[in-house]
């Protein structure tokens, strides 16, 4: 039920902001001629694409194509960030000083340098060495970036589980890895869903930075569309709305998972 309230509040705030912008413009006498009618075709349109592919059918417009790419890169990055984060979170608590130091080094390095710089380094340096596509480089950069934060969240999650859980598991004959897999991590993940959701929402928004390596994501396509049509306000509003759709779905999904997992409480 809290979810429904929160979604209403968010939508309400969005409506108020939109209204405020209109109001502000009209009061200042700024005559901006809105062209909202140009937006739908940037999402979907009916027709041919080019001379070679002229068959008329429903096709994705430029913003929708960008939306799908942002969606793909976000999902891929979340997936890898979870894997990296889990490994890093466990490594941070290792008894091996070297493992501990390496994982700490990774976390500190990533958290203390700008993501934009990391994207450039991975794309131009690592990417060209390994012949990565822009998509692979973008995904790698976002995963490595978010992985450091997820790692810290996972570490805190593991540490929050009572040590009796590990002792009970080990005393039943489970190995450390078995105890982690069956007992500690499932409980830890349940507990860290809220901070993880926050992290993944940031990741979706941060993914707009990959437009700098000419990856045709939502932000990049939007900029192209603005350059072509000059309908900056309409397009950026639409982009903001589309990002919101993604982050909103994400927080909805995590709240659903949280509720489902709450049955054992």
């Amino acid at each position: 039920m809290t979810f429904n309230k929160r979604s209403l509040i968010t939508l309400g705030v969005l409506a108020i902001v939109t209204f405020a912008v209109y109001y502000f413009f009209s009061r200042r006498g700024i005559t901006y001629i809105w062209h909202w009618e140009r937006i739908p075709e940037m999402l979907f349109y009916y027709g041919g694409k080019s001379a070679e592919d002229a068959v008329p059918r429903v096709r994705m417009g430029i913003l929708m194509i960008g939306f799908v790419l942002t969606l793909k890169i976000s999902i891929a990055s979340i997936f890898f960030a979870i894997i990296i984060g889990t490994i890093v979170g466990i490594a941070r608590l290792s008894h091996e000083p070297v493992t501990r130091a390496l994982s700490l080094g990774y976390v500190e390095l990533i958290r203390n340098t700008p993501l934009l710089v990391q994207i450039y380094i991975i794309y131009f340096f690592v990417g060209s060495m390994l012949r990565l596509s822009a998509f692979a480089a973008g995904t790698a950069a976002l995963s490595i970036f978010a992985g450091a934060y997820v790692g810290e969240i996972v570490r805190a999650g593991i540490q929050s589980i009572h040590k009796g859980q590990m002792e009970a598991s080990r005393s039943l004959g489970m190995s450390y890895a078995e105890a982690m897999r069956h007992i500690i991590l499932p409980q830890a993940f349940k507990r860290i869903i809220p901070p993880l959701a926050g992290q993944f929402i940031s990741l979706v928004k941060d993914s707009s930075l990959v437009s700098v390596i000419a990856l045709a994501d939502l932000m990049f396509q939007g900029q192209q569309a603005v350059a072509r049509t000059y309908h900056a306000f309409e397009i950026y509003f639409t982009i903001a709305f589309l990002y919101l759709v993604m982050t909103f779905t994400l927080s909805m999904a995590t709240q659903y998972i949280e509720r489902r997992l709450a049955i054992s409480d």
Binding site: H162, A168, S169, S171, L172, L261
Partner: protein, 245 residues
């Protein structure tokens, strides 16, 4: 079955003080014997149990279980632990698993039993500890006494050669102590090897073969429960008994 020789264990506290938990500790526990360990808080009772399955590691000395030196580098500690069940003061059930899953999990993960087999064993044991009707409930919905009985079933499912109980009834409300002690008594009468840290002298008198009084990491006095009730020798024993009886 258990042979401890000259075991020393020292803890370092966070402020770098050294705490001697076991001092030149030696004892023998025979197969089928039920040994009750009593002693004041901090006397090393838990540490002894925890060193028996290496939840804590001894500093020096030797511990043999079934003739195997469990601190030998070649020993696979997970295999040793399968044979030594431990029941904790705070139950430590797995909160994200149902009662049935709590009992079934280690059988499948550690003993590699298939699911049907494990379920059958689990249901039999839940019946034995009198809690079968709660098999699909999560631990949070159980009373302390019920949780502890599930924890005992979880240990029994591994068919351990030795069972250790570390103050298994200390965290329970008084009205629930009986139901857990009853299960423990049943197990004791089945001829299991049991090492039981408890201050329930009624339990000691009814089923124990031997009572060991520990203080400051050492055995001060040992004998039958009757001996402790009628003619304890050492002053420290008398003082302690006067506090708990």
């Amino acid at each position: 079955m258990i042979k401890a020789r000259n075991v020393h264990k020292t803890f370092k506290t966070p402020d770098r003080k050294e705490v001697k938990a076991l001092v030149d500790f030696s004892t023998d526990i025979k197969k089928g014997e039920v040994v009750v360990i009593i002693g004041p808080s901090g006397s090393g009772k838990s540490t002894f149990l925890r060193c028996l399955n290496r939840l804590d590691e001894i500093d020096s000395g030797e511990i043999f279980i079934d003739g195997v030196n469990i601190y030998d580098k070649k020993v696979n500690i997970n295999e040793i632990r399968e044979e030594i069940g431990m029941v904790f003061q705070l139950f430590n059930l797995f909160p994200h698993k149902t009662v049935l899953e709590n009992v079934t999990l280690a059988q499948m993960v550690v003993r590699k039993k298939n699911k049907e087999e494990a379920l059958e064993v689990s249901r039999g044991l839940l019946h034995k500890v009198g809690i079968l009707e709660k098999e699909n409930v999560y631990p949070a919905q159980l009373s302390g006494g019920q949780q502890q009985r599930v924890a005992i079933a979880r240990v029994l499912a591994m068919h351990p050669k030795i069972m250790m109980f570390d103050e298994a009834t200390s965290a329970l409300d008084p009205e629930m102590i009986g139901e857990v002690l009853d299960v423990m008594k049943t197990l004791a009468k089945e001829g299991r090897t049991m090492v039981v840290v408890t201050h329930e002298m009624g339990f000691a008198r009814e089923v124990s073969d031997r009572v060991v009084f520990m203080d400051e990491g050492q055995i001060v006095e040992e004998g039958t429960a009757e001996h402790f009730f009628t003619n304890p020798v050492h002053e420290r024993t008398k003082l302690f008994l006067s506090q708990i009886l």
